[in-house]
Amino acid sequence: MSSTAAVFGSIRITWSGLTVAFGILAGVLLAYSLYTAHSGRGKAIWLVLCFSVIPSVLASRIVYVVFHGVEYSGFFAGLLDYSDGGFWLPGAVITLWPAALLIKKTALPDEPEELLDALAPGTAFFAGMVRLSAVFGNTCRSMYVVSAPAFRHFPVAVKMLSADGQAVWHFATFYVSALLLFALMIASLTFYILHHADKMKKPCTRHGNVARLTLVLFCAVELVLDSTRADRTVLSFHLLRFLNRQMREVSITQIFCTVMMLLCMLYYSKCTGSKGKKRLSVRWLLFGGGFLCAMTTEVLVQRYTEYALLLTLAQALSALAMAAGVFLGYLACRDRENYSS
């Protein structure tokens, strides 16, 4: 299938571009519906769209160009020439936050957290569509080959032909990611409908929890699936040859995801009441244990690839434990005495 959907003179529109655009449009309309259905101003959503599209593209591109610089003739060439190359998805997701802040500072008094809550399910959908857009390019992006015949099928694996004509089935990282992100969209939407305005203990606010928990789950998904990618964005210890060999690959995405999850964890730590403190050790144990386990499995999976399945599953459980730690933090912050909003 051709990657080109249409050509208008010098403008080439690709199927993947259309998929991404559809993801944005659908995500925005979903956010618009949610926000206006809960007495929000729809115009604020349009403003977020205007304020975030260009910064999202630039932010996701900057990180990609900085860490894949050799693929471009120069920093600005990489930044402005979109004929080829990739984008760092978390960069696109995270720019919604400054966009929402900007709206409060310059245009409307809408609470950024309220806006971000409405945007969260749509953003998960958009991220899933970005991953799905890979159907028009290289779909696997994975370093692993699927050897079990039962799993040699869409959406778990995609077929590639080796130079000697042999069919090789690669794990389809992006399809699996897309499916998980669509599931995340449904979870986020359900959570928004049921709990987006639950009262919280001070100083936590009642808004922003949908966005935070969606971000945490997004990070959990990326943390694990990024480990299976062959083309991930990694730190390179140019000046430290020893570290370059010893550390192998340190993924920017995994660092970002861990930091975001930690920030959410710290946020909920500040507003846990006396009941919450009793659970402090449990949720921090979950989070800390999950973090250590995720790090260990990442180090091991780069060295003992024959155990990739086992280690990836362990990493998934670790990421879930981290997410569960944050969720317990959220539960501890809920104001149960004034539970109903």
């Binding site: 080439r12 571009g17 115009k43 693929e71 120069g74 390019g137 370093m143 050897s147 062959a230 083309d231």
Partner: protein
């Protein structure tokens, strides 16, 4: 509460009365931005889509309808396996002999290299009249050994010399048979997203000496031929009169190990090129460039799409001196931070080596000469970077002993 909210809203510069127009305007602007995204943002499509098209990797309807299979297979079989090293067992690479450890030597006296060359002549690897690029009179970098590998099928001499204040790492290679020159892509698969260190790729194919090539993966320019098959040939307009396939000089190497260039701006159709590949038995191509030396004469350039040719960077290039006789050279920083060069300066250095044809490979941190499993030249930033491909030379002494050699 409502009054406070209303008051706050009125204090903002976008007053309520302006919002109907403003809202529509921003909605319209948002849609324009989404259209802009549709046109410009297509993550990883262009170069990888061509790989997908070539390998026929995906058909959604087929994939969905063919979903079948038992869960027992999954339980009994391993689900995932890493393929980074799997290529080392591929049949195509088994023909390369493991180099004989006794064939390696480190020599500090340049004159001693001449005796090794004489032995190569006496074993008929080198012709009696065949001239070597290596000269014992060169300005060698002090305290750096000249590294040699020799058996009946391959002679490799690696040395570092100073030319115009620049440190040039050279490797002169003479092989007995063209099949000893190999293009190694990661996973032996065009379009594979896996990248590896050049030393690891070299080890996978038992290379005596290897070098980075064009790092083809992230680009979609030029022509890519691999194992005789045309993989990359895009006809979209690159800029001005150039199209994607002819905006670069492409190096084509045939089954006899001889160079042929597809020069920048040279026009042909896909069918014409495919028939040329067949006629001339082209095995593989390298798409970086530009051409540095052609028919023994230096070629200078004002403009070229890759490699920032007019800036001073670490450079890597590959030359043919004669039949089955090659020279690989890098000009890179050294521990003393010696200067690097522009493409024309690099071409001028190659021209002094009396080579027939020379072609620039990807330079910068990618430029790497691997000998005996380790980097021989100084690599930018002091460490290897992962690449998608190398060009390497192997011994075939085992095959020769088995009667399959030259």
């Amino acid at each position: 509460m409502k009054q406070t909210k209303q008051h706050t809203e009125n204090t903002h510069f976008l007053k309520k009365g302006t919002w109907t127009a403003g809202s529509s305007l921003f909605a319209l602007l948002g849609l324009v931005l989404i259209f802009w995204v549709a046109v410009h943002v297509h993550p990883g499509t262009s170069f990888l889509a061509e790989a997908a098209a070539q390998t026929g990797q995906f058909n959604l309807s087929t994939e969905v309808t063919s979903w079948s299979g038992s869960a027992e297979d999954a339980i009994l079989g391993r689900f995932l396996e890493n393929t980074a090293d799997a290529s080392s067992t591929r049949p195509a690479l088994l023909g390369a002999s493991v180099p004989d450890p006794s064939g390696y030597r480190d020599i500090y006296m340049p004159a001693d290299v001449l005796s090794v060359i004489d032995k190569a002549r006496s074993s008929n690897l080198l012709g009696e009249e065949e001239e070597m690029v290596f000269s014992a009179d060169s300005a060698f970098l002090s305290n750096v050994p000249i590294r040699i590998y020799r058996d009946d099928t391959i002679l490799v001499i690696c040395w570092k010399e100073i030319i115009d204040g620049r440190v040039c790492s050279c490797s002169e290679i003479k092989i007995a048979d063209a099949s000893q020159m190999r293009r190694k892509l990661s996973q032996d698969q065009y379009g594979s997203p896996i990248k590896a260190f050049a030393t690891d790729l070299a080890a996978q194919c038992n290379a005596v000496v290897a070098m980075n090539a064009d790092y083809y993966l992230p680009r979609d320019l030029g022509v890519t031929v691999y194992n005789g098959r045309l993989y990359r040939f895009n006809e979209w307009t690159y800029t001005g009169k150039y199209r994607s396939y002819n905006c670069l000089d492409t190096l084509l190497i045939n089954s006899s190990g001889d160079f042929r260039f597809l020069r920048m701006g040279e026009e042909c159709s896909r069918d014409q090129l495919e028939s040329l590949l067949k006629q001339q038995n082209i095995l593989f191509s390298i798409a970086f460039g530009p051409v540095l030396v052609e028919n023994g004469k230096m070629v200078s350039h004002d403009w070229y799409p890759l490699g920032e040719i007019n800036e001073r960077y670490s450079r890597a290039g590959f030359a043919q001196c004669g039949p089955l006789h090659y020279l690989y050279m890098t000009v890179s920083h050294s521990e003393e931070n010696t200067p690097v060069c522009t493409i024309d300066e690099f071409a001028a250095i190659f021209a002094t080596k009396n080579v027939q044809y020379a072609y620039a490979f990807d330079g910068g941190q990618t430029g790497e000469l691997v000998f005996a499993g380790e980097a021989y030249n100084h690599i930018d930033f002091g460490s290897e970077r992962t690449v998608s491909d190398i060009l390497c030379f192997t011994s075939s002494s085992a095959a020769l002993k088995g009667g399959a050699g030259k």
